[in-house]
C-alpha cells in the first residue's frame, strides 16, 4: 500500500451516500468557486495549486461532510461537519493564509476512532476518486492483476489459500477452497463469477461504501478471481437501492473496458473477462447465493435446493462462484503484499481484517476496519467510543438479523468466525448494533424478526409461516397478551425452523429470538407474567406515571412531550395526563433519572 502523497494541494470531499446526503455536492461547488475566486485553480506554485476531489466514505459518517486538506509534504488536515457556508472561511484562512481553522478541524476523539483500526481494504477509500481510473492506477491499482496473470491460475488459488482468506459475506467459507471446487468443475463453455453486492441487513453498509469509495478494487479482485477460477464472465449483483454505487460501478466497468483491463485478452494475456452489472430489486433473500443466481436469470428470487451447489450448477446451469464485495476487495492486497503478510494479521483461523458497520447506542457510528481477533469490548468502547449518555451497555447484536446477541459477559470475546459462533452470534456480513439499558430485548428480537418475516421469499413452509407465527407470539408478549408456555413454544418452533428451513435466511431467522431468550429470559418472563417491560420500551406495558421518589423536578419531560400531556411547574413533580398521552415514549427517553414508569 502506498502512502498517499500529492504534488499539489488536494481537498478531498466525502462524496459517499452519506456525504452527498449531508451536502457534499454543495461543498464541492463552493470549494471550486472559492478556488477560482482566489486564483488557486491550476496555480503555478505547488503550494497554491488547489484541487477539489471527490472521494468515497472515510468511515465516520456521523460527522459528514468531512473534508481532508492534503498539502504536499505536509500530511492532511480534516474538517468535520463542513457545510457550504464554512467553505469560504476554510479556503481563506487555511489555503490562502496558511492557518488551520482550529474550531472546525477534527479533534482528538475523531482520531481515536481510527486508533485501533487497521485500514487495509479501506485504505484507499476516502483518498482515491472513485470515478477516476487514473487515480486508482496512480495508487498502484491493477498491479495485482498484472502480477496474477504472470502466475498460473493454480498458483493464484494457492496464494489465496495460504493467505487464509475466508468469505466475508457471513459464512466464512475458505475462499481458496471454494475457488478450487469451481475451477475443478467441468463445463463445456462458460463459468461465471458473481459478486454479491446485495447487502440487505438493516444497518449494514460495508459493501456499499467499498463500491462507492473504490469500485476498481472490486473489479480488480474479480479479475483475479476470474483468472484463478477460469471464468470468462462476471456479474456484479448490486441492489437497486444503491443508486450511487450502481452509477460508479457502471462508470468503472466502462472505464476499465476502455482501458482494455476488461474484455478480451486482459493485459495482453489470453484471459478474457466480461463484466456486467445486474440490479437487484430489493429483496433481502437475494443475498443468498442460489436466490441471487435465480434473480440474475430473471426468475423469481427464491433459493434453490443444494446440492447441486453453484460451483457445479449455478448461473444458467453452469459452474459459478459467488463471493462478497469485501472478499473481492481483499484480493488485490493479498496478491500485492503477499499471503505471508496477510496471514500475519488476525487470529489463527481467521486471517486479515474485517469491516464492520457500527450503529445503535455508541458515540461514533460508522464504518470500521479492524483486525480479526480484536475483542468486542475494544470494538465498542475503543473504536466506537462507548455508550452515550453514561448509560450501561446491555447487549450487542452481531451479524444483523441472522446473528445473535452478546451480553456484557461476552465483552472479552475475540471477534473471529469461530469464537463468535461459539458465543452464539455470528460474523454475518458485519452489522454491529449496540444496545444500552433502555433497549428491551424482546422488542429487539421482534424488530429483527419483523424484518426476516417480511423478507422471507415464501418458498418453504417453516420460514414463510414459522417466522410469522413466532412474530405473532412476540407481538402478543410485547402487548401484554403473553401466555404461560410462550417462551418454550418460541424455543421449540425456533429450533424447528432452524433445522428445517431451505436457505440461510430461514435457518438463521430465529437466532435473535433464541439468543435473547437464552441471555435475557428474565425480561421475557417479566413481559409474560408481570406484564411489565423492564426497559420501558414496550409502550403497551408501560403505565406512563411519574415516580415521585426518582423525579428531580427538572422538567425535561415536559419539554420533550409533543402533545403537552405533562404538567410541570418549577419545584413540582411532573404529572402525566393519561387522557392526552399518546405513549410516544419521548418523556422516558429524555428523563435522565428513569423516573417515568
Amino acid at each position: 500500500m502506498k502512502e498517499y502523497s500529492t504534488d499539489h494541494v488536494e481537498v478531498h470531499v466525502c462524496m459517499g451516500t452519506a456525504g452527498v446526503a449531508t451536502g457534499g455536492m454543495e461543498v464541492m461547488e463552493a470549494l471550486n468557486e472559492e478556488f477560482a475566486k482566489h486564483g488557486l485553480l491550476n496555480a503555478e506554485s505547488k503550494e497554491r495549486n488547489c484541487e477539489a476531489k471527490q472521494t468515497g466514505c472515510r468511515g465516520l459518517c456521523a460527522r459528514d461532510v468531512l473534508i481532508d486538506v492534503y498539502a504536499p509534504n505536509k500530511g492532511s488536515v480534516t474538517y468535520e461537519h463542513v457545510t457550504a457556508e464554512m467553505v469560504p472561511t476554510i479556503v481563506q484562512e487555511h489555503l490562502v493564509d496558511g492557518n488551520i481553522v482550529e474550531k472546525w478541524a477534527a479533534k482528538k476523539d475523531y482520531f481515536q476512532f481510527y486508533d485501533k483500526q487497521k485500514r487495509y481494504v479501506l485504505h484507499d477509500c476516502g483518498k482515491v476518486d472513485p470515478e477516476s481510473l487514473e487515480d486508482y492506477v496512480r495508487l498502484g491499482g491493477y498491479d495485482a492483476i498484472k502480477k496474477a496473470i504472470t502466475m498460473k491460475p493454480e498458483e493464484v488459488i494457492e496464494e489465496v489459500k495460504k493467505s487464509g482468506l475466508r468469505g466475508r459475506g457471513g459464512g466464512g467459507f475458505p475462499t481458496g477452497l471454494k475457488w478450487t471446487f469451481c475451477r475443478n468443475s467441468p463445463t463445456d463453455d462458460h463459468k461465471y463469477l458473481i459478486c454479491n453486492a446485495d447487502e440487505g441487513d438493516p444497518g449494514a453498509f460495508m459493501d456499499r461504501s467499498i463500491i462507492e469509495g473504490n469500485p476498481h478494487a472490486v473489479i480488480e479482485g474479480m479479475l483475479i478471481a476470474g483468472y484463478a477460477i477460469g471464468c470468462d464472465e462476471g456479474y456484479i449483483y448490486c441492489r437497486a437501492e444503491y443508486p450511487l454505487a450502481i452509477e460508479r460501478v457502471i462508470k468503472a466497468i466502462k472505464d476499465a473496458e476502455d482501458a482494455g483491463y476488461l474484455g478480451k485478452g486482459v493485459f495482453g494475456s489470453d484471459f478474457n473477462f466480461k463484466l456486467k452489472l445486474k440490479e437487484g430489486a430489493g429483496a433481502f433473500v437475494c443475498g443468498e447465493e442460489t436466490a441471487l443466481i435465480a434473480s440474475i436469470e430473471g426468475e423469481r428470487g427464491m433459493p434453490r435446493p443444494r446440492p447441486p451447489f453453484p460451483a457445479v450448477k449455478g448461473l444458467w446451469q453452469k459452474p459459478s462462484n459467488v463471493n462478497n464485495v469485501e472478499t473481492f476487495a481483499n484480493l488485490p492486497l493479498i496478491l500485492l503484499e503477499g499471503s505471508e503478510w496477510y496471514a500475519g494479521i488476525g487470529t489463527e483461523k481467521s486471517k486479515g481484517t474485517k469491516i464492520f458497520a457500527i450503529s445503535g447506542k455508541v458515540k461514533s457510528t460508522g464504518l470500521v476496519e479492524v483486525p480479526m481477533g480484536i475483542t468486542v469490548r475494544e470494538l465498542i468502547f475503543d473504536v466506537g467510543g462507548g455508550i452515550p449518555k453514561k448509560r450501561k451497555f446491555k447487549a450487542v447484536q452481531l451479524g444483523g438479523p441472522s446473528g445473535g446477541c452478546l451480553t456484557p459477559d461476552h465483552l472479552e470475546t475475540p471477534i473471529d468466525y469461530d469464537s463468535l459462533i461459539a458465543a452464539g452470534a455470528m460474523m454475518g456480513s458485519g452489522g454491529v448494533v449496540v444496545m444500552d439499558e433502555t433497549n428491551c430485548m424482546v422488542n429487539v428480537a421482534q424488530f429483527f424478526l419483523t424484518f426476516t418475516q417480511r423478507e422471507s421469499c415464501g418458498k418453504c413452509i417453516p420460514c414463510r409461516i414459522g417466522t410469522k407465527t413466532m412474530l405473532n407470539i412476540l407481538d402478543r408478549i410485547t402487548t401484554g397478551g403473553g401466555r404461560e408456555g410462550d417462551i418454550e413454544l418460541l424455543q421449540k418452533v425456533g429450533e424447528d425452523i432452524k433445522t428445517s428451513s431451505l436457505c440461510g435466511l430461514g435457518q438463521t431467522a430465529p437466532n435473535p429470538v433464541l439468543t435473547t431468550i437464552k441471555y435475557f429470559r428474565d425480561e421475557y418472563e417479566a413481559h409474560i407474567y408481570d406484564k411489565k417491560c423492564p426497559s420501558r420500551e414496550c409502550a403497551e406495558l408501560v403505565e406512563f406515571v411519574v415516580i415521585n421518589e426518582r423525579c428531580k423536578k427538572c422538567g425535561l419531560c415536559k419539554k420533550a412531550c409533543p402533545v403537552d400531556a405533562i404538567y410541570w411547574e418549577k419545584k413540582e413533580f411532573a404529572i402525566i395526563d393519561q387522557e392526552k398521552c399518546v405513549k410516544c415514549r419521548e418523556c422516558i427517553v429524555n428523563c435522565p433519572f428513569n423516573a417515568i414508569d
Binding site: 433473500v285 418458498k459 413452509i461 417453516p462 414463510r464 413454544l489 418452533v493
Partner: protein
C-alpha cells in the same frame, strides 16, 4: 450403481437418483407435499426431510442426489418433530373446511396430517378468508386453501409452457396468481388442477358433484382425439363424474387437455337418446333396437349389394370397425367409406418426438389439434433444447419454444414451405440454414397435417431428401388410424358423395358418423333425404341422425370395450366403465348381420381373434399398447397438390383447430359448449379496427360460392389479412367443402 442404506436396508440405485428414489426402491415411504416426479425438484415443503448418518443438517429427500455409501434415516424423533411443525404451521392459515372441500378425501394435506399425527395445533388459528375466484370457466381457484407447493406454477411452466400463473408477493403474502391480477389466460388444460395437492385449484365440471370415496375408477383410453391418452373414468351408479388423469401412466404421462378433463360430461347428457327411431314418410316413431334393425334389414334385402354403402366414424373401436367391414362383406358391397384414407399412415411415436433434436411443425397448430402431441413437441424443444421450426399462418402457442416461427398468409406460407422443402433437397435459399439444422440433426422429426394434401406432399419430399426424418402425421380422431386398418380407408371419400348424389348408392349404413358436418360431405343433405335407407347410429340425435330413416342410439367410448389405435399407430384397450342402457355399435352391427344371415361375434376377444387372423398388420399385435408396424408412411407416391387459396377477396380464410373441440362430438358437452359453442371468426385486431368491428359483433363473410355470418373474436396472433373459422360446424363445413384455403370479403 451406488450403494445406499435406507433405514438399514441396502439398495442399489443409479447415479443421479435422489434419496426419495432410493427410498422408493427400498420400499420406504417418505412423506412429500411439493414433490412431483414429473417436475424439477423444488424442495419447498420440507416435509420430506431425512437424516444422513454423520451429518448434522437435515436434507430434503426430493432434491438431494444420493452419494455412494450414504446412510439415510427416514424416521426419527427429530424428523417427526420438524414434519409435525411444518404441517401444524400450514394448518394455521388453512381453512379446515374439509367436509365441503373439493379435495376432501384425496387431499395431500389431509393425508399428511394423519400421517404425522397432528391432532392439535399449538398456534392460534387464523384461517384465510378471501372470496373464491370463478373467473375461469373450468378452474375454480380458492387461494385460501393453497399451501404454496408451487406444483401448479411449475407444471404450467415446465410442462405446458404457458406460464399463466406464478408466485406473487413474498413472505406470508405469497400467493399464486396471474400477472397484474388479470383473468387466467391459458389453454384450459387443467394440468394445474391435476397436481394441486389441496382443494385450491378445482375442476368446475366435477365441483361438488360427488366425493372421491364414492367413485369407482376404470382405466381406459380417452376417445376425444387421436392422442390416445390413458385416463381414468371415475363413476358412480352409471354416471360419469370425472375423467381423471392417471399420473405418469400411458403415452400422455398422465397429462390431459381441456377436452378430456372438462368435456366428458356429454356422456351424462340428458339430450342423449335412449330409444331407437324409425322414420317413415316424414313421421318418426319410437322403436326398439330389434325393430329398427329388422326394418333396416328388410329394406336392405330389397336392394342390390352395390347400392349399399357402409360409412363408419373414426370414433368407433377397431373391433366395431372390423365388424362393420364384415357386414359389408356379408352384404357384398365394396362401398365402404369413412372420412379417413389409407394414403398416409403413422410413423413416429411420442418418445421419438420427445427425444428429437430438431423438429419441423408443418402448417398445423399441434397444441390445439393434438394437445398431447403438442406437449411432446414442447418437451423436445424445451428440455432437450431441440431446434423447433414452426410453420403456420398465424402465431401459435409454440412461439415460446420455437427456434423460428414462420407465419404468413396461406399463399406466402405455401411458398415458404416449398422453399424449405427445396432447401432440404439441397437448394440454396433463405431456408438453407434451417434445412441444414434438420439434416444435421440426429433424430429429426416432422409433424404435419395428413388431411392437407399439399403439406403431405412436402412431408414426403422431406422424407425423400433425408431418410432419418421421422414423420408424425397428426390424425384427428381417436381411431382415425384404426378404422383405416380395418379397411375403411380404401375408397376416396369423394366417391361417396358422388355415389349418393348420382343415385348409385341407395342405402347408407352410417355407424357413428355425422356426415352433414364433414367438409366434402356436408352438401349431401338433399341427396341423403332421397335415399331408400339411411341408418344412423349415434349417441346423440346429430344432424345426420335427424335425416335418417332408422336411428339407433349407441354407446360412447366409456360404455364399451374395445381398442383404439392412436396417432402413433399404438393399439390401446378401451374398457367399459358405465352402462347407460344403450347398445354398442358392435351389437347393432351384429344384429344387422344376423338379420342378413351372417353370424358375427360381439365378444371383444372373439372379434380380436378374427382381426388377428384377417388383418395382416394386426396379427400378433399386443392389444394393450402394442405399436402397429406400418410398412411406410405413404401408400403411394403423393402427387403435388395446389395450396393456393381459391376465389377472390381481400382476406384469406383458413380452417382453425380448436383445443376445446374435436369434431362435432364434444359440442354436446355443456361445459365446453358454454365456452365455445358457436363458430367464431378469428380476426386480427388491426383488421377489426379497420372494419370498426369489436369482439362479439357479427360480420358477413362472402366468397366465391359461399356466404355466411359469424361472430367476431379478435385474436392478435392471427396474421393481418387472414381470418380463420373452425371446421366441423354445419355452417363452416359447407365453406371448407370448397377448399382448404379460400379468399373472402368481410363486411359488417
Amino acid at each position: 450403481m451406488l450403494n445406499v442404506k435406507i433405514n438399514g436396508k441396502e439398495v442399489q440405485v443409479a447415479p443421479g437418483s435422489t434419496i426419495l428414489d432410493a427410498a422408493k426402491e427400498a420400499g420406504v415411504s417418505i412423506p412429500v407435499l411439493c414433490h412431483d416426479s414429473r417436475l424439477n425438484p423444488f424442495g419447498a415443503c420440507r416435509v420430506c426431510l431425512v437424516e444422513q448418518v454423520g451429518m448434522p443438517k437435515l436434507m430434503a429427500a426430493c432434491t438431494t442426489p444420493v452419494t455412494d455409501k450414504m446412510e439415510i434415516i427416514t424416521e426419527s424423533e427429530k424428523l417427526a418433530r420438524v414434519r409435525k411443525t411444518a404441517i401444524e404451521l400450514l394448518l394455521i392459515n388453512h381453512p379446515l373446511d374439509c367436509p365441503v372441500c373439493y379435495k376432501g378425501g384425496e387431499c395431500g394435506l389431509q393425508d399428511l396430517t394423519y400421517e404425522v399425527g397432528v391432532t392439535k395445533v399449538r398456534f392460534d388459528a387464523s384461517p384465510n378468508d378471501t372470496p373464491v375466484d370463478h373467473t375461469n370457466p373450468f378452474i375454480e381457484r380458492d387461494i385460501d386453501r393453497c399451501v404454496l407447493c408451487g406444483r401448479c406454477v411449475r407444471i404450467c411452466d415446465e410442462v405446458v409452457n404457458i406460464q399463466a400463473i406464478s408466485f406473487l408477493n413474498r413472505g406470508t403474502d405469497t400467493m399464486i396468481g396471474t400477472s397484474f391480477e388479470q383473468p387466467w389466460n391459458c389453454e384450459y388444460c387443467g394440468q394445474c388442477i391435476s397436481v394441486c395437492p389441496v382443494g385450491s385449484l378445482n375442476n368446475r365440471v366435477y365441483l361438488f358433484k360427488n366425493r372421491p370415496w364414492n367413485l369407482e375408477s376404470e382405466k381406459t383410453i380417452c376417445g376425444l382425439c387421436s392422442c390416445g391418452c390413458t385416463v381414468s373414468i371415475d363413476y358412480e351408479c352409471n354416471e360419469v363424474f370425472r375423467m381423471n388423469e392417471m399420473p405418469e401412466e400411458g403415452v400422455n404421462h398422465g397429462y390431459m387437455c381441456a377436452k378430456g378433463r372438462f368435456g366428458f360430461d356429454f356422456m351424462n347428457s340428458v339430450k342423449r337418446e335412449t330409444e331407437a327411431q324409425i322414420t317413415v314418410g316424414g313421421e318418426a316413431k319410437k322403436a326398439t333396437v330389434a325393430e329398427a334393425v329388422e326394418y333396416a334389414a328388410e329394406k336392405l334385402k330389397g336392394l342390390k349389394a352395390e347400392e349399399v354403402a357402409v360409412v363408419v366414424s373414426p370414433r368407433i373401436t377397431n373391433e366395431e370397425a372390423f365388424l362393420a367391414s364384415k357386414l359389408a362383406e356379408t352384404i357384398g358391397t365394396k362401398n365402404v367409406f369413412s372420412t379417413e384414407t389409407d394414403e398416409i399412415m403413422p410413423e413416429g411415436a411420442y418418445s421419438e418426438v420427445e427425444a428429437s433434436d430438431a423438429l419441423a411443425v408443418l402448417n398445423i397448430n399441434v397444441t390445439e389439434s393434438n394437445p398431447i402431441l403438442g406437449l411432446a413437441v414442447r418437451v423436445a424443444a424445451r428440455e432437450e433444447n431441440a431446434n423447433c421450426f414452426v410453420f403456420y399462418p398465424s402465431e401459435t402457442a409454440l412461439k415460446r419454444v420455437a427456434t423460428e416461427l414462420i407465419t404468413g398468409n396461406p399463399d406466402e406460407l405455401a411458398v415458404k414451405m416449398e422453399k424449405f422443402c427445396a432447401a432440404m433437397g439441397g437448394a440454396d435459399n433463405d431456408f438453407s440454414a434451417m434445412a441444414k439444422t434438420m439434416l444435421e440433426a440426429e433424430k429429426p422429426v416432422v409433424v404435419f397435417d395428413p388431411y392437407n394434401k399439399a403439406d403431405a406432399y412436402i412431408a414426403q419430399e422431406i422424407k425423400k431428401a433425408c431418410d432419418k426424418v421421422i414423420l408424425v402425421p397428426a390424425k384427428s380422431k381417436n381411431n382415425s388410424v384404426g378404422i383405416v386398418d380395418m379397411g375403411f380407408g380404401k375408397n376416396n371419400p369423394a366417391d361417396f358423395a358422388k355415389g349418393v348424389e348420382g343415385g348409385t348408392i341407395k342405402a347408407v349404413l352410417c355407424f357413428g358418423e355425422n356426415i352433414l358436418v364433414r367438409s366434402g360431405w356436408s352438401k349431401l343433405e338433399g341427396a341423403l333425404a332421397k335415399l331408400d335407407l339411411l341408418m344412423v347410429t349415434d349417441p346423440f340425435m346429430s344432424d345426420t341422425a335427424k335425416a335418417a330413416n332408422v336411428y339407433v342410439p349407441v354407446a360412447t367410448f366409456a360404455e364399451k370395450s374395445g381398442s383404439f389405435t392412436n396417432l402413433e399407430g399404438r393399439v390401446q384397450e378401451v374398457s367399459k366403465a358405465v352402462d347407460k342402457g344403450v347398445s354398442a355399435d358392435a351389437d347393432v352391427i351384429a344384429a344387422l348381420g344376423k338379420a342378413l344371415g351372417a353370424e358375427l361375434p360381439t365378444d371383444v376377444y372373439a372379434v380380436r381373434k378374427l382381426i388377428e387372423k384377417e388383418v395382416k398388420l394386426y396379427s400378433g399385435i399386443q392389444w394393450d399398447g402394442g405399436k402397429v408396424a406400418y410398412p411406410s408412411v405413404f401408400k403411394t407416391e403423393m402427387e403435388k397438390a395446389s395450396a393456393t387459396a381459391k376465389g377472390s377477396g381481400k382476406f384469406y380464410l383458413y380452417p382453425a383447430s380448436l383445443r376445446l373441440h374435436s369434431g362435432s362430438y364434444t359440442r354436446w358437452s355443456p361445459d365446453l359448449a358454454k365456452v365455445y359453442g358457436t363458430p367464431k371468426l378469428e380476426l386480427n385486431d388491426a383488421d377489426a379496427n379497420e372494419m370498426e368491428s369489436a369482439e362479439g359483433d357479427t360480420v358477413k363473410i362472402k366468397g366465391d360460392g359461399f356466404a355466411g355470418e359469424f361472430v367476431v373474436e379478435i385474436n392478435k396472433q392471427i396474421t393481418k389479412g387472414c381470418v380463420s373459422l373452425p371446421e366441423d360446424f354445419a355452417s363452416t363445413a359447407d365453406i371448407f367443402s370448397l377448399g382448404r384455403y379460400l379468399k373472402a370479403e368481410i363486411s359488417k
